[in-house]
Symmetry: C2
Subunit: 361 residues, 2 copies
């Protein structure tokens, strides 16, 4: 650990404070961080010269003393490109502000597996061209198992095994690129923009079922970078539907969108349809109860089609969860839909870039 590392830490501390609390004066930053005004001035001058921070005008004087010059992240001066590879038939890309707002949005049809990388490169290039501001970096949320350096260890949909997606994109685009699992990206978005607590599990329901987990605000990677792969965990001890993986009663066989819609279509009455959703919610609760017990997660966030997840399914999940964990500790566990909608992976990809380039999270 060298002194320059400490300075990097302090730079990130300032950027993070501005990111979360908005524009403020150098003196405010001094009070907020505990560093002296002198040091703040020095760091801010460096950050301004690097283009990350800008002076945005005087604060109208509200008391005695010299009026303050407000500084803030140069939010208008930078953009982030986010790419969501988790869709079942489209690739979604977007230009986002530092606050995670989507400025430009673009979709392309999912090509054949071999052409995916070239399509992503082309999409990213067009988004960079449309950004009208320097792009801080490119974040990618991809299905499958992704290691800490953006190498896709396994992604059955695309046939990738040990493929260095991050490196390939970085070389082609000449920009900083970060690749992570889609559900792991999503939970970052929920934490940074969705106001979730620091111990949160996000369940992403789509063609498959995956999850992302933060504990103490830190993403859990797992021993083989496979944390979150709960889709093929067997749920319950009473059988269940057959899964594409060959086993019986996987969570994915109960909860994935194709499985749910098929069972809903087969259901005749509204009551039967609600029963299908309640069954799925119960299975989710059964699967998550041991995780809640072992990790003391306080919040479970669902991401996916709201017409399926929001309602009986979520209600039954929280009910089952409370019935199957010790009320004393886990009574407060909440289950809710994300409010990030369809953009959650894009926004999570943006958080990855913010975190990687600015140290903000």
């Amino acid at each position: 650990m060298l002194p320059e590392h400490a300075r990097g830490h302090n730079r990130s501390l300032l950027l993070q404070t501005l990111f979360h609390q908005g524009a403020m004066s150098r003196a405010d930053l001094s009070r907020e961080t505990g560093l002296t005004r002198v040091t703040i001035s020095d760091l801010i001058a460096e950050l301004i010269s690097d283009g990350f921070v800008a002076e945005i005008g005087m604060r109208e004087a509200s008391g005695p003393g010299k009026p303050a010059m407000l500084v803030d992240l140069d939010r208008a001066g930078h953009r982030i490109v986010g790419i969501d590879l988790s869709g079942s038939d489209v690739i979604i890309g977007a230009v986002l502000t530092l606050d995670g707002d989507v400025v430009v949005r673009s979709e392309v049809a999912l090509p054949s597996a071999e052409a995916v990388v070239d399509t992503v490169i082309e999409l990213a290039r067009s988004l960079v061209a449309d950004s009208h501001a320097p792009v801080l970096g490119v974040g990618v949320g991809a299905p499958g198992v992704v290691d800490g350096r953006g190498v896709v260890l396994a992604a059955p949909n695309f046939g990738w095994v040990g493929f260095d997606l991050e490196g390939s994109l970085q070389e082609a685009l000449g920009l900083s690129v970060l690749v992570a699992n889609d559900a792991n990206a999503a939970v970052l978005a929920e934490y940074t923009f969705g106001g979730s607590g620091a111990d949160v599990l996000l369940v992403k329901v789509g063609r498959g079922v995956g999850s992302g987990l933060l504990s103490g605000g830190q993403p859990m990677r797992g021993a083989h970078f496979a944390a979150g792969e709960i889709g093929h965990v067997t749920v319950g001890t009473d059988g269940g539907p057959a899964c594409v993986c060959g086993k019986i009663g996987c969570l994915e066989a109960w909860l994935s969108v194709p499985a749910l819609t098929a069972r809903l279509d087969a259901a005749g009455t509204d009551a039967e349809r609600e029963g299908v959703l309640r069954d799925a919610g119960e299975r989710l609760g059964i699967a998550l109860a041991p995780v809640v017990g072992a990790l003391d997660v306080s919040e479970i966030v669902l991401s996916g089609p709201p017409e399926l997840l929001d309602g009986p399914l979520a209600e039954q999940a929280v009910e089952t969860l409370r019935a199957r964990t010790l009320a004393q500790f886990h009574d407060g566990v909440r289950v809710r839909m994300t409010e990030q909608g369809q953009d959650i992976v894009l926004r999570g990809a943006a958080v990855m870039v913010l975190s990687g380039q600015l140290g903000v999270s």
Copy 2:
């Protein structure tokens, strides 16, 4: 972040390197840490003057050049006191070396709940008196939910609710005291002394069932410091034995020592007894499968009576676990007994002190 924090970090880095790799020269430390020989000399001089490090003699020259002076942690010059409050009828205390070896061991009968604190203070004082070397600190593994500052938020056995055990002991003993949950302490011992990987779940089976979890080498605390409380998670969807908590089919009702011994005593034949153990192992596997899926834990360690856990129970647990998780990722999950025996909580308490006082883990 100030420069002196960086120096503290570097001090801990040296102590940690010596702790794990044993005695070496200043030049070795320089190569190992990346700091220059000059800086190492300066830091080591400080650590020697503080009494944490000692020169232990020359290395016999094996090649050209000036022979090296070896330095090492002053292992003989310090002791740690560990206390295990998780026993059902005794309190165990010990004096340990920095390497986690028990030097002095002492047991006292568990007194009434009100007298526990005074008994612990008395036990700790007598151990400190027997230590024959300066005591670095006192570590305590306690049942129940313990927060990050050693306040016991809930411990039904002792009737503690929001009781500042760490503060009480620190005041009475005048020594640095650290208190944590017993299973969380145990998993630290397994990581530091038992050679487990950095993503490991320890299940502690005794009067109750608890767990401790490391992910990436970091202890998981949970949103309410209740991580690891898996004893009263319902397992399976086919009922099960009644639990003292009022629910049906809790993991504790299947797996705790009292529950297991009662069912073993009721079993007539050896085959029936093995069936009891296999059932319990299966339940453990069912409960842990979602945790393994969500966290990608690579190793599960069991702590408790080996005559119950080691054998059919552990075998069935790993079998069930593999059947219920996706083989592709979690095939390698291992289930094994700890080799730390009965001292695991004591040694874990020692690790807490090492970590708190030296930054070693």
